[in-house]
Symmetry: C2
Subunit: 387 residues, 2 copies
């Protein structure tokens, strides 16, 4: 009986120590981390330390198996006696990353995070803060433009669609002035909200306009018809399937979107005042829209463009074959990518340069196929437009 | 041996029959249902039949327990041999409903749906279509206004915030004209995106302006600081805690938001041209902003307003005590609710009328504390503004 009491007291003490340790551990984490800016208000976790490690903690007492799926790696979560699950990641690159929880094999969104459209669905997301570099994509005490959600009817698709349109701050007061337009596309599995919600394009525009680095312009973002997954049908030629992915957008932009923008906004409508750029699949789409229509566009940018296997001499009706002609027509041609991805961008710009094509190559150091690459590409690209 | 073969053949046949039946069942459902408009592209499910039943089907072979949580009821999902989980709901009221999956006790978003900020988090959502009534909140072939995301700095909170601002179509071309402003708030646990994403206020505005039922106006929506849950601290007076929930918004709207709107947009800035309305907690906030500031507002609306226990004779410095004075100051005072909820709206309007206060009571038939109630209230309210 005495031994039993001692045993129970010991068990109790062990539980208390475990509990205290768990409490300390949570307090410790709280002391050297900050909640992510992407957390829904009221959520202390996920938290981030100075090296960019993310600390997850959530209460799911009835779950049996949870993992965090972020930046291409799955981290097992560990459950404590109170039903709290925790995991800590490796240091992550600054900027925005999608992430999911895997609950018994099902990929779901952490209830603590805002969601962002990407990966062909609503996805969780986390913003890893950084030092001074990031100031260009954060709101500053400068005049702020707006991102406008515009409903419009696309005759080519017989359906209502939505475009997101950035207008610079001065658009509200310079009522006589007309503006050049950049059409800006996201990647496969994302939509028209990507560049503002994940890319912070509105803050980059505001800051670069305020500093005089870029001219005030209108920026138009549309879904691009790449929200659904790329899924070739059985027996379909993979190249043909790839060319068809998001191809409905080409009629939309040329026949419906540009006319809608030019009748709704105070735009300059000639080719000298129209640009197009896109990231990943949006880069591929930009090639497909701009290169056959140099009567309508005179600027082109790709950021980690998904442009593979092009026969540069013959593609797009031989547009690159006559370099002098191309260089005269194209006011600025930019191709950027991250140093830690392999989309063949540098090699392609080398080949183009060997053919005499004037193209700017930019490499974002230490970043892969991710939003920091594209924020940086955007910042490098826009100062060269409409000057 | 022979028996064993027969037995195996029988088992095989049974599996085949079960599989065929499952296939038929899926084909049957496909034949009399349509995918929800709230589905992410590429998802056939959830689907909806003519009576408003929702059919869920998702592939989660490793999950052990899934439920659908919608309109206050939990529906167990059933798993087939291929790992597909299905459930069918009762007929649901038309309009928008939040929903979740419960995976082993954890409430998560169905990967097939777009997400909507509500319930203090990102939530799944489904739009139940209906007949002719809904046309007023669907896009029609009329001029379309815009919903603009506006970043601004709130000095009262020392932080950047976001307002969503609807501008009517003619705002783009009537460059000399100034417009009245309606401030419009969502409910507890929602944010500035609620009225456009769940409420379709932009379509209701477009349609009622086009039909001449309401005058062109600017509509401003802000987070209202009610994204985090209402959570009184231990020992806190519950009434005081309730009054403090979202109370930081009062300084924001009066000191930061209204000045920002009046300097950024072409507004009419006098009390005759400023209105405020809100749903649920936003109704409570509208009372708290408008009634002490009748020098700034002359229209007030509550839709299922969360306004309880008011001492009508003495509240807000006795604003209702002098009915003649109040009626002269207030151009239009609207209080609406659903017939299937019990927020005390009708009783409160009766008491106010007994005191001589001119107030319009509206009841949405067959709806509860849900978005169809609020779309209808909004449609009833806006034709009375600024005339």
């Amino acid at each position: 009986m005495k031994n039993a009491r001692r045993f129970l007291a010991l068990i109790g003490l062990l539980f208390l120590c475990g509990w205290l340790q768990a409490q300390n551990s949570v307090e410790d984490v709280m002391s050297f981390t900050k909640p992510a800016s992407t957390n829904v208000p009221g959520n202390d976790y996920p938290r981030i330390d100075a090296e960019g490690r993310v600390y997850f903690r959530l209460h799911a007492p009835n779950s049996t198996n949870l993992q965090v799926d972020i930046c291409g790696k799955k981290y097992p979560m560990v459950k404590d006696e109170q039903g709290f699950w925790t995991a800590t990641t490796d240091p992550l690159v600054v900027g925005f990353h999608y992430y999911f929880l895997i609950a018994d094999g099902m990929s779901v969104i952490d209830p603590a995070t805002y969601s962002f459209f990407g990966c062909n669905r609503e996805a969780g997301g986390i913003e890893i803060p950084e030092g001074p570099e990031g100031d260009y994509y954060r709101p500053q005490q400068v005049p702020h433009g707006q991102v406008r959600s515009c409903t419009y009817y696309a005759e080519s698709q017989k359906s209502y669609r939505r475009a997101m349109v950035y207008t610079p701050a001065e658009y509200e007061t310079n009522l006589e002035k007309r503006y050049p337009v950049l059409y800006l596309q996201h990647g496969m599995g994302e939509d028209e909200t990507g560049w503002s919600s994940q890319g912070f394009m509105q803050h980059i525009m505001d800051n670069l306009i305020a500093s005089g680095e870029c001219v005030p312009m209108i920026v138009v973002m549309e879904s691009g018809d790449v929200a659904a997954p790329f899924a070739p049908k059985r027996g379909e030629n993979p190249n043909e399937a790839r060319n068809q992915y998001g191809a409905t957008f080409y009629d939309v932009i040329l026949k419906d979107l540009i006319p809608m923008i030019d009748t709704t906004f105070r735009t300059k409508t000639d080719r000298e005042n129209r640009a197009m750029a896109g990231l990943s699949w949006g880069g591929f789409q930009s090639f497909n829209v701009v290169l056959p229509h140099l009567d309508k566009f005179s600027y082109l940018g790709t950021f980690s463009g998904a442009i593979f296997g092009l026969d540069l001499k013959n593609c797009f009706n031989g547009v690159f074959a006559d370099a002098d002609k191309f260089n005269k027509q194209m006011n600025y041609f930019f191709m950027g990518c991250g140093s830690d991805e392999n989309f063949g961008t540098e090699q392609m710009t080398k080949s183009l340069k060997e053919m005499g094509i004037e193209v700017t190559f930019y490499e974002s150091q230490g970043t892969a196929h991710e939003w920091l690459t594209w924020r940086r590409c955007f910042k490098e690209f826009i100062p060269h437009l409409f000057k």
